[in-house]
Structures are given as C-alpha cells and as structure tokens.
C-alpha cells in the first residue's frame, strides 16, 4: 500500500521500520479438521460457547456434484480497526509494531460497543465460568497469539494446522512466506468494503462464502437447532 492510500495514521502496512503481521489462509489446503479451533481453546482456556477462531463450512452444489468448503475465521487484526475507534474507554488498542489488535481486560467495562462495531463478529463476551483463568465477564478476542509471536513462535492455530492452510508472518518483510503468498496468488479479504484493511488473507475462498457472517455456512435449519439450544442454556 502506498503512502497516499493510508487513511489513518495507525496503519502500519508497508510502514518502514515496523512489522505488520498477517495470516494467509489457503482454503485449498484446509481439510476442515478443526485442530486450529481446539488448539486455540487450549492455548487460552477459552470457555465453551465462545471462540477466538472457528471454522464454518458450507456444502455447495447439487447431488452428485457437491463439495464442502471451509472458511477458517478469526480476528482480522485490521490495519484500521473499527473496534478500536468505537471503544469508549480505550480498552481495545492496536500495537504499532506488529499490528496486533488487543484488549486490556482491566479497562474493559463490558459495554460491547466493540462487538457491535466489528464487521466480522470476531469479539465475544467471556462468561463467568472458566476452567482455570481468572479473567471473566469482559470482552475477549483473538490476539494473533501476541504472547507467542513475541517469543518468535507462530500462533497456536498456525502451529497445529494439519494442511498448512494457515501461514503467519511479517507482511512488511518482502522475503517472508506470507509476503510471497500474497504477492503471487489472488487473495481476498473479508468485507473489504468496510474499509477496515483486514490482515487475514484468503487464497481460493469462494466469494459466495465470504459474504456471510459467523454462522451462515451451515444449513439454516441446523443452525437454528443449535442457536435455540444456545439461547436456552448459555448464560452470560
């Protein structure tokens, strides 16, 4: 991105001397195994009912020409994140070196403005019960595994990705694998029209899929069964 296109001073894509971490999700390699989703749950002791990353799927076509498509989802760590703009107490912020969009739990007042502002449904309210982590009843989200990346490790979901569908790295480093993939493949981001400048890039994603939100991949009837059960039982 050239300097002229940068609309906000907090954007760090191609900013000299700064890292801009990004994830490439190569949907051609995603086998829908759900290892990423579970690895993430373990990494953060994420409670049941909420997810930092998730893998919706859609069955497309008519018998016998049918395929299954997966679209791994997570926070896009936008270069211009609407959640940061919308947080009234500066609980949500962007780390300049790296581009992580993070949450300060002790500042969060649980007003959910950020959840409403996020076009990707990537944020959620933590319930009051967790297995062992004493942070509850505040908004949480994917951190791009800030604590791992700063130790020179890839995020937990990338670490365990069986198909190596998820690739992580510094987009400002032209020699990184993510730079190579973004440069040499047709990629898509989710909801580019929102102007958020997402930093999760998809290779091979079907545009028909990427238009939907969090749950819209499964059959509406099935979703409805789960959704009504969720409403009955999940208590925040």
């Amino acid at each position: 991105m050239s300097e002229e296109l940068r609309v906000s001073p907090i954007e760090t894509r191609e900013a000299p001397g700064k890292r801009r971490f990004a994830m490439v999700v190569d949907t051609r390699r995603c086998i829908g195994c759900m290892a990423c989703q579970v690895a993430c749950k373990a990494e953060y002791d994420t409670p049941l009912g909420v997810n930092r990353t998730w893998v919706p799927y859609k069955v497309v076509g008519k018998y016998p020409n049918v395929r299954k498509q997966f679209l791994p989802r997570l926070c896009n760590h936008c270069d211009d994140p609407p959640c940061v703009r919308n947080c009234p107490v500066e609980a949500t912020f962007k780390v300049e070196d790296g581009g992580f969009v993070l949450q300060r739990y002790e500042r969060c007042i649980g007003c959910r403005s950020c959840m409403a502002a996020c076009p990707y449904n990537a944020r959620f309210m933590l319930p009051s019960h967790r297995s062992y982590t004493p942070i509850t009843n505040v908004v949480d989200k994917c951190t791009f595994c800030f604590h791992r990346v700063t130790q020179n490790l890839v995020p937990a979901c990338v670490q365990t990705c069986i198909g190596r569908s998820r690739v992580f790295g510094d987009l400002n480093d032209p020699n990184s694998e993510v730079s190579y993939l973004v440069a040499t493949h047709a990629t898509q981001v989710l909801r580019p029209e929102e102007g958020t400048k997402p930093h999760v890039f998809y290779i091979g994603a079907d545009r028909n899929q990427t238009e939907f939100g969090r749950d819209a991949y499964r059959k509406p009837e099935v979703m409805e069964l789960d959704r009504s059960a969720f409403k009955r039982h999940f208590d925040i």
Binding site: G32, V38, A39, V59, V95, T150, G163, S176
Partner: protein
C-alpha cells in the same frame, strides 16, 4: 493442581513485561520466519511452560506430541516438531487429549459394585482389597481351566504387556476389537503382499484413487497422511478422486466425488482394472516379474469385469469408469488408498484385494509418489518371556474362520451364549463393545449383564464406559498421559520408535496398566513359587521401558530410553523448516524417503549357503530370504514366496476365489423400493467411543442426525430436524433427519460416537446431576457453560452382526433398513435391539462361512472345490 490466583493487576504486569521484551528484541532479519513450535508460554503470566514429549493416544494414529505443563497440569498439547511423521502438528482430538486426564467424572479409586449389575452403585475399596478379590477369582478359574479367563481389549498399545499377562496365566482367550475395525482390509492385503496396510506417498503422487477412506477426518493415518494430501494437492498439483456413499470431508475436498452404491467399490475397482488391461495400459514388466500371475492370465481373468457390469451394480456411469481408468493408468506416479468403505462388508476382503490390484497392475508399487509398503520398527520384549498357552481358545480362533488372522471377536457373545466355551473371569481393557460392537447393548450388554455367562467381570478403565458400568470391580487405569508405553506406527515413509511417558504422577490412586497387571500377578504368586512372578520382575513402568529400549541398535548408542525421554522419538531425521513446514536435512533440503524396498539386493554374505529354486525363490536355513529376478538376488516382498500373490492359493483351499473377484451382497439384490442401506461414519472431531466426554470436541459435534438425500426426504415428507424412524431386521431407532445433497439417495447415514447412556455427565448431558459414587475428578467450572442439549442417538443396537467369511470383519455398511416419518408414539432417542433377532442374524451370517451351506452357492466358479471336509485343520495362526 491449584492454579495461582492471578489478579488482573498481576496479569497486566506480566503482559507489560513481554511487550517491553519484544520491543527490545533485535529486529528480525529478513526471511526469518517465526518458529513452528517446540516451546509454549502462558498467555496470562508469559512464563514458559514445561515441555514433556509424549506419544499421542487419543486415537491410534500415534502422533508424536509434546505436553506443556503448568502447575503440574497439562494445559496444552502440541505436535512434536522432531517427529518425522507428525511434523509438529496434531488434530483436534490430539489437541484436547488432556481432558481424558482431567475429566471430572474420571474413576480414580478401585471400585466394587454394591447394587445389581449395571445399577450404578459403587463402593470405594483399597487396592489391597481389590487385588485380593481379583487374585482369588483368578486362582479359582486357573484351577478349572486357564482358558476360562477371558480378556477383551479394544485399543491395546501396551507393547506386549497384555499378551504377557494372559500368557503368564496360561490363557489363550484373548480377544481384540479388529473385526469391528478394519480387519478385512488387513486380510485382503496380507496374503497378497505381506503387510496389512499400505503407505501411499501422497506428497509426491500425481493421481490418487480413494476408495471409501475418510482420511481427512479419521482412518489410518489421519494427521500425517492429511498433511501429505494437502501438500500433494496444492504443491504437486495431484488429482484426487474419492468413491464414497457420503460426502465426507475427504470426498468434499477431492477433485471428484463419485457416489457409489454401498458395498460395490470392489466391482468398480475391477472394472477400472478391466479397462486398463483391455486398453493395454498395464505395467507388464512389473506384473510378469513381481507377481505370481502373467499379464495374459490377468487379462483373461479380468475380461468378465466390464464397466457395463460394474455400472449396473454401482451406479457409476460407464464413461466415468473408463475415464478414471485411463487417467489412473497414464498419470504417473499414482497411488490408491482404501479404508473401511470397501472392507466393512460381507466379502470385504475381496473388495480390498480388487482395489489394491490397481496400483499393482500399473506398477506403482514402492515408487516415489506411489503405493508403498509400510515402514515400521520393533523393539525386544523383556526376558524371560512366558511360553504360549497350552490349549487354544475357540473364541480367539474360531475354526469356521481359518483365514481371519485378526479374529472374529464381534461374534463372541453368541458363541459364549451357545456354550462353546465357559468363562469364569472376564477382563475388559480400553474396549467398549457394549457401545461399539454390532448389537451394542442388545448383544454385549446382554452378555455382560448375565452373571451365569460372565460370573465375574473386571474392568480396567479410567472412565465409566457402557461396559465398565456393568463390571463387578473396576481397577482404575491411567489415561495415556500418565502411562509408560513403547510405540511405533508406519504413519509416514520414515520408520520411528517413540514412547509415552507420564507427564505427572497418576491422579488419585489410578495405576497404569502394566503396573496394575504386575500387581495382580504378584498377588497371585507372591513368592514366585508358581513361576509367574519371574516374568514381571520390573520396578515400575520406566524400568519396563528400559528393558525394551536400552538395547535397540542405534538407539542404544544415542542414549536408549534417556534419549526417548528427552525427545519422545527416535531417530530424528532433520529439523522442521519454519518456512515450509517440511523436515530438512543439514543442507536445508527436504529429506527424501527410501523407495523400492523389495528391490534391495541381497549381499554376498546373505547369499552364502542360500539355495535358489526353479521359481527363483532364495531360501537359507529353510527360510525364504529373497527372490532371483533377471539374474539378480532381491529381498522381494514379505510373503512366503517373496512376490505379490495376485492369486492367493490358500483362499482356494477353503473354496474361496483366489483371484480378484467381487460378490454382491445377496440381500442387497432383493431390496425393495422403500428400503435403504444404513451406513455409519466417524466425524473429524470424535473417535469411536471415548471422546464424548471431551468438552471441546463435544462442543463442536454433540449430536448425529441421520443424513439423507433431499430426494429421499421428499419421498418421506421430512425436512431437517424432523423425526424419522429407522427400522432394521433386528430393531429400530428414532432420530432426527439432516437433509443434505452430500449423500447417495439410497443411503441413510448416522455418525457414531454420540448418544452415550454412560461415560459420565457430559457425554450423557446429565450435568445437573450430583456427582456419582464412581466419579472423583476435579470439577471443571467451564462445564457450567455447556449450551447444547442434544446428545444424539447411537445406532449400533439396530445393526446386526455380519462376518466376512474370509477376513472375519463386521459388515457395518450392509444393513438394509426401512425409513419412515416418525409416528405419534415415537420419541427422539428411542432405540430397541432384540437379542433373538440379533442371534438369528448371527446364525444367518455363519451360513456364509466356508463351513456354511451358502458358501458354495456364493462361489459357483469354485465348483471343483472338494468341500469343507477336504481341508486339513491347521495350527491356529494370527495374533
């Protein structure tokens, strides 16, 4: 296992610390990628977690793993980056394996039944009481006949300990679970080329035919092979074609999904072979040199299997069969993979054989990118070793199934009920036939409840599974993260040895299996006077491992067990490249596998004193060691005649067709219009029976509505969520419908792994219940967040037993059912299976055995066979 109480303030300080550290860290040099694992840090305190290498054992793929421990509790599991097959990655199941250990309903103390069998009333007893009681029962049984002691295991990865135990007692009544797993695949392969499984080189293949394997969700070897499929598909532009009755994730990922009518994969494979031979696309040199038939013989034999014939049976269009045949034969290298799709039928062994003929006739065997032999490694057993039992057991080696080298354990309840063998004491270990076997609660449940047939029932288990709930006494076993076990699996093209080691002290009073079995023997033979104790002279699990591993050549020099304790696996072939995720050698290049194992030449030393017969077979000291071909001495294939046996002569002895063939299921030919076939399957996040209480997996998948095609649904007048009644010859169930384009219109498919009636409060969704007498694990506050209220319906009670007369395998996908919209009295979850009807089905399936009256009718081509009396009884084989 208390966690330090962390306030938000301490968390803040910790995270502020890491930010500062990151800011001060030197800028990464260009092309420096973040590492792919090997370390782990707490997101809350930023402290590094202790890493302990283990071998995963949620299922049986045996991935190398690392357990990360915080405050003496495993909080994270990762793939071991030093493991050549796993390459640092684990599947969803492997990532959640710690919940086997920390399940709030885990059994942590020896328990004795106090109510009626299966009533759920338990009393905690001491180990001393438990061992005394078990030893007394064994003592009495030993006096009568050691074979009245039965042990049935499901997943036995003890590395020989279970066998040692039973041999020490002198009992041959050891039953496995392979006949409900994939045994006919094994029996289809073993006589043909030696081993019981193939290793397809997906990463380097250009074309893959997949018959009925859902490798991207389950099957051998899900994680390692899925990695290579993604690699081959994207990096190597391979094409993958999947034949399946249902759109599995594998079928949905494939370039082509070709739905087939159930049980007809074998016919399609034969027709593909027909086209290859008809159009002269075979590898004649390979066939003539390395198999026991000639190209001409093969062409003559395959002439009968026309695409028109196969198309009529399978529903696959003739043009598709012809096109796939040409593509497969002319794209090199190509490989093939099968799993339970072809094998789990009456005559599953024939189907497997028909499939494996395709890479054989195209010469893709043991080529880079082809169909390779499995690579495994062994380890020695501690000495002294107990001798084999004096008398064989009719349950372990039924004479009606002489070719079933992996037993026919799913028919055992009927044989016990018929009085073919008396049982005094029964052990169960990591098995749950009351849930997993055909007939389930209606068959195995009835057997284990019957105190006349099973007078004393011991469960070695950490969980209250459906069969453990029927036990008289429960000896609390340890989940895999608290055990010592040796391990090796041919899950990539590189052989390896690995271990499981305890990540912390076993919780409660649980004892790992090998220690528990030792304690039983020590109780039986406290002073060694009965000659049993000598085989159990080890201090603990670690000491036992030293006997296995301290003298393996190569590993010994590297440090033996101590090396494995540190690395989890040996050898280490290279380092994981963070840019590519591949294992690289010192030069930075990806490591290359060795191919053409059968073409390895024998050395002059090997040939010294060896004899070569007219067929080229090289024998030394009465043992076949290789084969002479074109003037060279090769090791050949691990079969008795060192070549691939396209013609399996042993099968002909019992009146089976020795050549590649196909038999249609007789009761499928007479199906009525309103009848369907019931098939079952595993989902990516569950295994057969032991993951329903793993919360992260249960959250992703907790119920199993019946898949049906929209065309079928329209006929029945149902939509997704509506109740349907599925009625088989042995029972019925009521479940919800899931209408999807991804299934054959004549098939209804129900996932297994759901609908538990035991296995703790999460699996049964009785979370509001008080903790049972048997549950002693620490409560998990997160279970307050369980939001789903549908646990699914388990179908096995309505699936009758079918046994492949060759391989002995259960015909899981052969059941004809009638599906109707549920009536006013049908409730979700109703399930009924009838013992008498199951018994009748068992009698029916025995008619197909070589001793049965339908055998000859099914094999008109074997009219010259002299009948069952012509076969001399053989020494029992198998394991």
């Amino acid at each position: 296992m208390d966690f330090p109480k962390i306030t938000r303030r301490t968390f803040l300080q910790a995270s502020a610390g890491t930010t500062a550290a990151a800011a001060l860290a030197p800028r990464m040099l260009h092309a420096m990628e973040n590492e792919l694992g090997g370390k782990d840090f707490s997101p809350v305190t930023a402290a590094e977690r202790k890493a302990i290498p283990v071998n995963c054992h949620v299922c049986n793929i045996q991935d190398g793993a690392i357990a990360y421990v915080e405050n003496d509790r495993v909080v994270k599991l990762e793939g071991n980056p030093e493991h050549v097959s796993t390459r640092g990655r684990l599947c969803a199941k492997g990532n959640s394996g710690m919940w086997y250990s920390y399940d709030p309903d885990r059994i942590l103390y020896p328990l004795k039944r106090v109510g009626a069998r299966g009533e759920g009333k338990w009393k905690r007893i001491t180990w001393e009481e438990a061992l005394t009681e078990v030893a007394a029962k064994l003592d009495a049984a030993l006096k009568e006949d050691p074979n009245t002691i039965m042990l049935k295991y499901g997943r036995n990865r003890t590395g020989g300990t279970i066998d040692r135990f039973m041999k020490t007692l002198g009992s041959a009544t050891v039953l496995n679970h392979t006949s409900v797993c994939e045994s006919s695949k094994k029996v289809g392969q073993e006589p043909t080329w030696g081993p019981d499984i193939e290793t397809p080189d997906f990463a380097n293949a250009k074309y893959v035919l997949n018959f009925g394997s859902n490798i991207l969700e389950a099957a051998y070897f899900h994680n390692p092979l899925s990695q290579r499929i993604a690699e081959g598909r994207v990096d190597n532009h391979m094409k993958i074609v999947t034949f399946d009755v249902r759109l599995s994730n594998t079928a949905g990922f494939s370039d082509e999904w070709i739905p087939v009518f159930p049980a007809t994969d074998g016919a399609v494979a034969l027709a593909i072979g027909h086209v290859i031979l008809r159009e002269d696309l075979q590898d004649s040199a390979f066939i003539d040199t390395w198999t026991n038939v000639t190209v001409d013989e093969l062409k003559a034999h395959y002439a009968q299997y026309t695409p028109e014939w196969a198309s009529k049976i399978s529903g696959v269009p003739v043009q598709t069969i012809e096109r796939i045949a040409r593509e497969f034969a002319t794209t090199k290298p190509a490989t093939l993979f099968t799993y339970r799709g072809p094998a789990k039928h009456l005559y599953g062994s024939y189907n497997e054989k028909a499939c494996m003929m395709l890479p054989i006739m195209t010469g893709n065997v043991e080529k880079r990118g082809g169909y390779c032999l499995p690579r495994g490694m062994g380890w020695p057993q501690p000495n002294p070793q107990p001798p084999g039992p004096k008398h064989d057991s009719v349950l372990a080696h039924p004479p009606e199934y002489p070719l079933a080298s992996h037993k026919v354990s799913h028919l055992v309840p009927f044989w016990i009920a018929e009085g073919r063998q008396k049982i005094n004491v029964a052990f169960t270990y990591q098995d749950n036939p009351v849930y997993t076997n055909p007939g389930a609660q209606a068959v195995w449940g009835k057997l284990y409840r019957d105190e006349k047939l099973i007078p004393y029932f011991i469960s070695m288990s950490s969980h209250m599974g459906e069969e453990t709930a029927l036990a008289d006494i429960i000896l609390p076993d340890c989940p895999y993260l608290e055990r010592w076990e040796p391990e090796s699996m041919p899950n990539s093209l590189w052989p390896w040895l690995g271990i499981r080691q305890p990540v912390h002290k076993s919780l409660g009073e649980s004892r790992e299996n090998r220690v528990l079995l030792r304690d039983i023997i020590w109780k039986l033979d406290p002073d060694g006077s009965r000659g049993m104790k000598q085989f159990w002279a080890f201090k603990d699990g670690e000491d036992y491992m030293r006997h296995h591993f301290d003298n393996v050549p190569g590993l010994k020099e590297a440090g033996g067990l101590d090396f494995l304790k540190k690395h989890g696996v040996w050898p280490i072939y290279g380092t994981l490249d963070p840019k590519t995720g591949k294992v690289t050698d010192k030069t930075g290049r990806e490591i290359q596998a060795e191919y053409g194992l059968y073409r390895k030449e024998l050395s002059a030393a090997d040939m010294e004193g060896a004899m070569v017969d007219a067929h080229g077979l090289i024998t030394k000291n009465g043992k076949a060691i290789g084969i002479r071909r074109n003037g060279r001495n090769y090791v050949g294939f691990p079969t008795p005649n060192r070549v691939i046996n396209v013609r399996v002569d042993e099968w002909a002895e019992y009146g089976f067709n020795p050549m590649p063939t196909f038999k249609r299921i007789p009761w499928h030919e007479t199906m009525k219009d309103d009848e369907m076939i019931l098939s079952t399957f595993k989902l990516n996040v569950h295994k057969q029976s032991r993951t329903a209480a793993v919360k992260w997996l249960a959250e992703i998948a907790h119920s199993n509505p019946a898949w049906m095609n929209p065309e079928t649904a329209k006929k029945l007048g149902v939509k997704t969520g509506d109740l349907v009644r599925v009625e088989s010859p042995v029972g019925y169930l009521v479940t919800k419908a899931y209408v999807t384009e991804g299934i054959h219109p004549q098939v209804i498919s129900i996932a297994t792994g759901f609908g538990h009636w035991e296995y703790g409060r999460l699996a049964t969704l009785k979370l509001k219940d008080r903790k049972g007498d048997a549950s002693h694990g620490e409560e998990d506050p997160d279970l307050n967040n369980v939001w789903w209220d549908d646990k699914g319906v388990h179908p096995n009670a309505i699936i009758p037993a079918v046994a492949d007369p060759i391989g002995g395998s259960q015909g899981w996908y052969d059941t004809v059912v009638k599906v109707t919209k549920a009536g006013p009295n049908d409730k979700y979850g109703d399930i009924h299976g009838d013992w008498d009807k199951h018994y009748a089905a068992y009698k029916e399936t025995m008619r197909y055995a070589y001793t049965g009256d339908l055998h000859r009718k099914m094999h008109p081509e074997m009219a010259a066979w002299a009948g069952p009396e012509s076969v001399k009884p053989k020494a029992s084989g198998g394991h």
